[in-house]
């Protein structure tokens, strides 16, 4: 059991549990707004079919919500269990948005969600719809604070290193909250969630329409999903572009890896549409390139170059050398905390202290690092290029596909020409899994692209881990896999069962529109 590496195992565990949690979160974000829209139509029009739509989609929302809450608990505590040094090193900043998320958003969402399900006959219509809106808004506020925390990992602003406590401490909470990276990520991520919710409703409604079941119900749900989805699919691409633009400024290596840009090209750089990145030879085979395009997207100019991986590695090397000075100063301060020269030296080089820690992550003492050690550490700043390149392209491709999907669905719904477009309905139903694939790949691009850093430029991932044994982590990892797999089976089973049963059966034959539908009034 000695060669079980807790770093590798903890990363696998974090990655799997985060990706799993992120299956449920986007649907909650999107579906909660769709429920609020449906219920608002009910309150304004007074037509009971809209109440039944809210209740039926609400049932599916409930199944998903339970999974989201269950898997979210793991995330809140996993920083402590598996990433103890990380928690100590940045808790002064990172803990704040997490705690405020609980205070401001998750508390509201979870307290009111009980009323959404159980309060139908205990409140006025207006009170109930207000509760539904608050659940939707709170779930989105939740995402805001989580992405402020995550944005800080990508672009750690408003903090400095304190040698007396040996950790990062906050200097400006406003900078952390209004971090441009966090804001761009928030709007991109929540709109991706709206797309997930809209595709979910659209696909299941299409399935009903193909089968000629619950037609009145499905047409209305289809219309809501199409319009909400179209707006969201457009935003997700536009806001994703903004997020990409900021990546250019703050995470150059991530951008270079996404684009497999091995060498800096003269501006404006071309965009590689297709190719096979080869990490060994640092080149991309069979590349198809569109001239100028990357330069335009990434820098929004014609004369700013996009730095390639080779130049960025050289840049990292310089920062490691500079960081070693900070590390030396820190060692001197450990011996004598009042050493004024060492303090000045540390202040001067503190921005690059994290780069010296890259050597530590490689098992090298920064005070004894040789040239090959530094070179190796600098090369370790390259994330897995092939994975980044393809994840990004599939995500973006799907993003454009959703625009087409919703635009056409909007057309079909506006014309009420469902019968003429049965093949499109089949296509729409088959699109069901796609937004999840796009969302998960988005997570991969954002978080794998951050490697080898857990906090960009501040703390390498390998150093953030707890001093737990590999055996312990393996045990919990196996436990999570077994437990989560079982829950996944149960969740999918219930979702399919309830979607197939349809609204009449699920609401216990109490739907208002059922008699009308039977008479063929639709």
């Amino acid at each position: 059991m000695t060669d079980l590496d807790p770093v590798v195992l903890s990363r696998i565990q974090f990655g799997l549990t985060a990706l799993y949690h992120f299956l449920f979160v986007p649907l909650t974000l999107g579906l909660s707004f769709i429920l609020a829209i449906m219920e608002s139509v009910y309150v304004m029009s007074g037509r009971p079919i809209w109440r039944d739509m809210t209740k039926f989609w609400g049932k599916l929302f409930g199944i998903n919500f339970a999974m989201g809450v269950a898997t979210g608990i793991t995330m809140e505590f996993q920083f402590g269990t598996n990433w103890a040094y990380y928690s100590h090193y940045v808790g002064d900043i990172f803990g704040v948005p997490l705690a405020i998320e609980g205070l401001m958003a998750f508390f509201l969402e979870s307290t009111l969600v009980g009323l959404f399900f159980f309060g139908w006959n205990r409140m006025s219509k207006v009170q109930h719809v207000a509760v539904t809106w608050l659940v939707a808004i709170a779930s989105n506020l939740s995402a805001l604070w989580i992405l402020i925390a995550n944005g800080w990992m990508q672009n750690p602003v408003g903090a400095h290193f304190n040698f007396q406590t040996l950790r990062m401490e906050v200097t400006s909470m406003a900078a952390v909250i209004f971090n441009p990276v966090a804001q761009a990520k928030f709007v991109h991520t929540v709109s991706a969630g709206y797309v997930v919710g809209a595709v979910f409703v659209l696909a299941i409604s299409s399935y009903y329409l193909i089968r000629n079941r619950h037609v009145a119900f499905a047409k209305r749900s289809f219309a809501v999903a199409a319009s909400f989805g179209l707006a969201s699919a457009l935003s997700v691409v536009v806001l994703g572009d903004e997020s990409g633009y900021l990546t250019t400024a703050h995470q150059k290596m991530k951008l270079a890896a996404i684009e497999a840009e091995w060498q800096t090209e003269p501006a404006p750089a071309s965009f590689t549409v297709f190719g096979i990145p080869d990490t060994q030879q640092q080149t991309t085979h069979d590349a198809i390139r569109v001239p100028w395009m990357l330069g335009l997207i990434a820098t929004r100019s014609l004369d700013t170059p996009v730095e390639g991986i080779d130049d960025l590695v050289l840049h990292a090397e310089l920062r490691i050398r500079d960081g070693i000075e900070a590390y030396k100063a820190l060692a001197a301060l450990h011996v004598n905390p009042n050493d004024a020269d060492a303090r000045a030296l540390l202040n001067q080089h503190a921005d690059n202290l994290g780069y010296a820690l890259l050597l530590r992550a490689q098992g090298v003492d920064p005070l004894k690092a040789t040239y090959p050690d530094i070179e190796r550490a600098a090369r370790s700043t390259i994330p897995p290029v092939g994975l980044m390149f393809w994840s990004f392209r599939v995500m973006v491709g799907l993003g454009f596909l959703f625009i087409f999907l919703f635009a056409f669905a909007f057309y079909v719904s506006a014309k009420q020409s469902f019968d003429k477009h049965r093949r499109f309905l089949t296509f729409a139903a088959l699109c069901l899994p796609l937004p999840w694939i796009a969302a998960e790949l988005g997570w991969v691009v954002a978080e794998v692209g951050r490697q080898p850093w857990v906090i960009e430029g501040v703390l390498p991932t390998g150093l953030g881990v707890s001093s737990v044994s590999g055996g312990d982590v393996l045990g919990s990892l196996i436990g999570f896999i077994l437990f989560y797999s079982t829950l996944a089976v149960v969740d999918v089973y219930l979702m399919i069962r309830y979607a197939k049963l349809g609204p009449e059966a699920v609401l216990g034959g109490q739907t208002a529109y059922e008699p009308a539908a039977r008479k063929g009034a639709e």
């Binding site: 103890a84 508390f107 969600v113």
Partner: protein
């Protein structure tokens, strides 16, 4: 930005807030953990099971956030405690997480399939999860008095030398059983308020037995602590406004040191007094068939017991028995002064709002959950 409160005051306020959040968790989520734990005891038929589950159905989700908020608040206000406690108690924490993962899906999925075996599986899972969570929380608190085996390296990397089995020491187990009794009492108090018929009859019995057990265990735990658990005491000079670094002080283990707070501040004795009075009063009320008030008495008892534990440990949060000087105290495990202040502002703004809408939800869902109500709303309830 200049911070209007000094570091020492902020640290004391945050110690108080942390104790309050833990008490909030034990009182709010405590009753639905306790209700789940006694599900199989108080409810025999399918309808009774649904009465019990639906009595907490609309509120358990919000209650559970006290646990999550507690985690978040420790992370933000005492990051070193968050890091040490959760990585040190790794396997125990994993079990706690499992019990908290089972609950949301258990409540939501249980009644969605009309098959007795399916429902039985979820009922057992919910019940075990409630009891195990209660037990583990108590065991964890018990270990705080004994100290747990950890130290720090020079760069403040935590090294923990124990495992799950090491936590199961007799005194800690006693605390664990006490915690189960406490939450069973509290859950039964909730059921007496929210249900009628056979469920309420059985809950009354559960309450009387668990309240009596709690009084006995609380007394026994106290005597054990006084007689044979050595406390921790800081022997070097403490600067309550110094930067948070646990490597700069000296601590020794000393017989009787856990009683220092009570001998120095006589008002502190109020906490254990409430800890005894709460469950005794709950017992009396149940005996005299005044069930509706039991929950309140039980909540007072929980508040007293949790503050007794906190005051006994003060100013320690997590003592180390292998390297006492590495112990975490409120003076050296906290966030920076600015973070504590920002978080305090956030709490002052949001906690009253949370209490307001939580009360609103409870008042809307007031009234008993009856067998007839379950029958009428078969499809919309848990």
């Amino acid at each position: 930005m200049s911070i209007p409160l000094d570091y020492e005051t902020l640290r004391i306020i945050w110690w108080l807030l942390l104790a309050t959040l833990i008490a909030g968790f034990a009182i709010m989520d405590g009753f639905d953990l306790g209700v789940a734990a006694q599900l199989l005891l108080v409810a025999r038929t399918e309808n009774e099971r649904r009465v019990v589950i639906n009595s907490i159905g609309p509120v358990w989700e919000g209650n559970q956030v006290w646990f999550i908020l507690g985690g978040g608040a420790v992370f933000a206000a005492f990051p070193l405690l968050y890091a040490t406690a959760f990585s040190g108690f790794y396997a125990a924490m994993f079990l706690v997480l499992l019990t908290f993962i089972v609950r949301p899906v258990g409540f939501d999925f249980r009644s969605k399939v009309n098959d007795p075996r399916w429902r039985q599986i979820w009922d057992v899972a919910l019940s075990v999860a409630g009891a195990v969570a209660a037990l583990l929380f108590g065991v964890a608190v018990g270990n705080l008095f004994l100290g747990v085996p950890f130290h720090f390296t020079d760069e403040m990397r935590l090294v923990y030398e124990g495992g799950l089995i090491g936590l199961l020491r007799p005194f800690a187990l006693l605390c664990g059983i006490g915690s189960v009794a406490m939450l069973l009492m509290h859950g039964a108090g909730w059921l007496l308020l929210k249900t009628d018929g056979m469920v309420a009859v059985r809950a009354r019995r559960v309450l009387m037995v668990s309240a009596a057990a709690l009084v006995a265990l609380f007394a026994l735990g106290g005597l054990w602590l006084i007689s044979s658990v050595d406390g921790f005491v800081i022997t070097s000079v403490v600067d309550p406004s110094a930067p948070s670094n646990p490597l700069l002080k000296e601590v020794v283990q000393q017989h009787g040191a856990w009683l220092l707070t009570f001998s120095q501040h006589h008002w502190a004795i109020l906490a254990p007094v409430l800890g005894f009075a709460g469950p005794l009063l709950a017992l009396l009320l149940a005996w005299r068939h005044r069930g509706a008030w039991c929950l309140l008495a039980s909540a007072v008892g929980i508040l007293g017991i949790i503050f007794t534990a906190g005051l006994t440990l003060y100013p320690f949060m997590l003592p180390s028995d292998t390297d006492p000087s590495a112990s975490l105290t409120i003076w050296d495990a906290s966030s920076s002064q600015m973070t504590l202040f920002i978080m305090l502002v956030a709490v002052i703004i949001f906690l009253p709002i949370i209490l307001a809408y939580t009360s609103w939800v409870f008042s809307i869902m007031r009234g008993k959950v009856t067998a007839a109500y379950i029958e009428e709303n078969k499809h919309s309830l848990y």
